[in-house]
């Protein structure tokens, strides 16, 4: 009896795990590309093993600095992409309806500093040099503004692909 319950639960768990994979793959395949400009950082101090801390230019923009004081610890900001798919900050979201082309982007606020998550990019150990000169974070957004960080892009807004892992 207990074994049967165990198997029944296992079926549910496998279902949930694989639905999670399906959901994320849908975003990767069908989502729209949004680029977030990275703020200039000293790469050496931020590369640690197999990930790189990211700072986004939006976090430091003057409009954000002017309006951030009233925001809570978690919230959404409204962004819109320009002709190069690069996101621009419009305003903080206050439950109002969005205009066409506007998207929501989640942020955290701690000690009066706004950060956008994910604020790190993970890669295989030893690949740091490929990502040192990244200029943009490449996101995929689905229609409900669920987003995934899928890679980093260089100055020409081309996603950085590490072709040969040995190099």
């Amino acid at each position: 009896m207990r074994s049967k319950i165990m198997i029944g639960l296992a079926v549910l768990i496998f279902g949930a795990l694989n639905y999670g994979i399906y959901e994320k793959q849908e975003i990767i395949e069908k989502g729209e590309v949004v680029l977030l400009e990275l703020a200039p950082v000293d790469p050496r101090s931020l590369m640690q093993g197999d990930y790189m801390s990211l700072r986004y230019a939006i976090e430091r923009s003057e409009a954000v600095n002017a309006q951030k004081a009233d925001q809570k610890k978690r919230g959404y900001m409204v962004i819109k992409t320009d002709e190069n798919n690069v996101a621009q900050f419009l305003r903080f979201h206050a439950d109002e309806d969005l205009q066409a082309g506007e998207r929501l982007l989640r942020f955290h606020k701690e000690y009066n500093r706004v950060t956008i998550v994910p604020d790190s990019f993970l890669f295989q150990e030893g690949h740091a040099k490929h990502y040192e000169n990244a200029k943009y974070g490449v996101f995929k957004f689905d229609e409900n503004d669920k987003r995934l960080l899928v890679g980093l892009a260089n100055e020409d807004r081309k996603t950085i692909v590490v072709s040969d892992p040995e190099l």
């Binding site: 949930a16 795990l17 994979i21 610890k73 604020d119 890669f123």
Partner: protein
């Protein structure tokens, strides 16, 4: 209840001292002594011990080998390959658990491995799909997924894993989702104390009702007691050591801490007599007293540090001597009652 003057034979714990005493008084022969000692302390005990040690070390090495394999070949293995191989391992564990059945340790350990692999899957999932989701969500899902298995496992280590995962979830959730105001941050102590206290209570209730032999192990009780004592003593320590006045949340947590210590003491002193738990409670009280004395001395002698440390040393000797004396007195009272 009628008290008999002679304790029943079955109530006297047998140990090496008892056997040696009987032999010294000529009550048993040399052969009887050797037989009794071999029965109490089997000669092949070390063999079992070393076999378990090798099992644990071997498992740890295999697991770390797998982790390093994935870390080193991260970019070469496609994301779906990573996720399906973990699911394959998960499936094998469950197949094994089904084959061996959950009544045997081998089946239970395989179910425990499956529970750990569920967490590994979610960690890898979170690394492949970088959503920036809060970490509490991972532990929440992990805790929910393995709860059902834990309930049917009848296996104490499985419960310990679930408790660890759920405690981490509670802590992260408080910080990342509940978003408490600064003046109510300390209520996390109450949440931890309530959750772990409830688990300890459930453990004692089920053991007292019988039919849960798998739960009736002393290390489970002492572990749960210590885990419950941490959030009970935490707010008291913070209150004593922090110079700024206490806010209402801290006062409430501290009150819960004092009541919790009292309840635990009453339970393990009078209801279920357990020296290990009493010793843990005594240690917790000692640490709080130490902190109080340190705070008092530091504020009184802040310009003569040598004197402060001398007095602190003496106070430490005093506090711990009192605790040990008190525990020894309880032991002798308990031995007189033959419990």
């Amino acid at each position: 209840m009628e008290q008999t003057s002679q304790p029943a034979l079955a109530q006297i714990p047998a140990n090496r001292r008892l056997v040696d005493e009987l032999y010294a008084h000529g009550k048993i022969s040399h052969e009887a002594r050797a037989y009794a000692l071999d029965f109490l302390y089997p000669a092949d005990k070390w063999g079992i011990w070393i076999s378990r040690l090798f099992l644990a070390v071997g498992t740890a090495l295999v697991l770390s080998g797998i982790v390093y394999f994935f870390a080193f070949n991260w970019a070469k293995i496609t994301p779906l390959m990573k996720l399906s191989s973990i699911q394959g391992a998960l499936f094998c564990c469950l197949l094994g658990a089904y084959y061996y059945k959950l009544d045997r340790v081998s089946g239970q350990i395989l179910l425990l491995s499956a529970s750990v692999l569920t967490g590994v899957f979610m960690a890898v999932f979170g690394q492949i799909y970088q959503t920036g989701a809060d970490a509490y969500q991972l532990f929440m899902m992990w805790s929910v997924f393995i709860l059902g298995w834990t309930v049917i496992s009848n296996f104490a280590p499985q419960w310990i894993l679930w408790l660890a995962v759920t405690n981490i979830f509670l802590g992260l959730w408080w910080d990342q989702a509940a978003l408490p105001e600064r003046e109510s941050e300390e209520l996390i102590f109450v949440i931890f104390a309530a959750f772990n206290g409830l688990m300890l209570t459930l453990r004692e209730v089920f053991v007292a009702r019988g039919g849960a032999a798998w739960l009736d192990q002393r290390w489970v009780r002492i572990l749960l007691t210590i885990v419950a004592l941490l959030p009970l003593s935490g707010p008291l320590l913070v209150w004593v050591l922090e110079s700024g006045g206490a806010n209402n949340a801290l006062k409430l947590s501290a009150a819960v801490g004092v009541i919790g210590h009292g309840l635990l003491y009453a339970f393990y002193r009078f209801k279920v007599r357990d020296m290990w738990s009493l010793a843990a409670i005594a240690l917790s009280v000692c640490i709080i007293l130490e902190a109080a004395v340190l705070d008092l001395l530091a504020s009184t002698f802040d310009d003569v540090e040598i004197l402060m440390f001398l007095l602190m040393g003496l106070a430490t000797l005093g506090i711990f001597s009192l605790a040990v004396l008190y525990l020894r007195r309880i032991i002798s009272v308990m031995e007189a009652d033959h419990v």
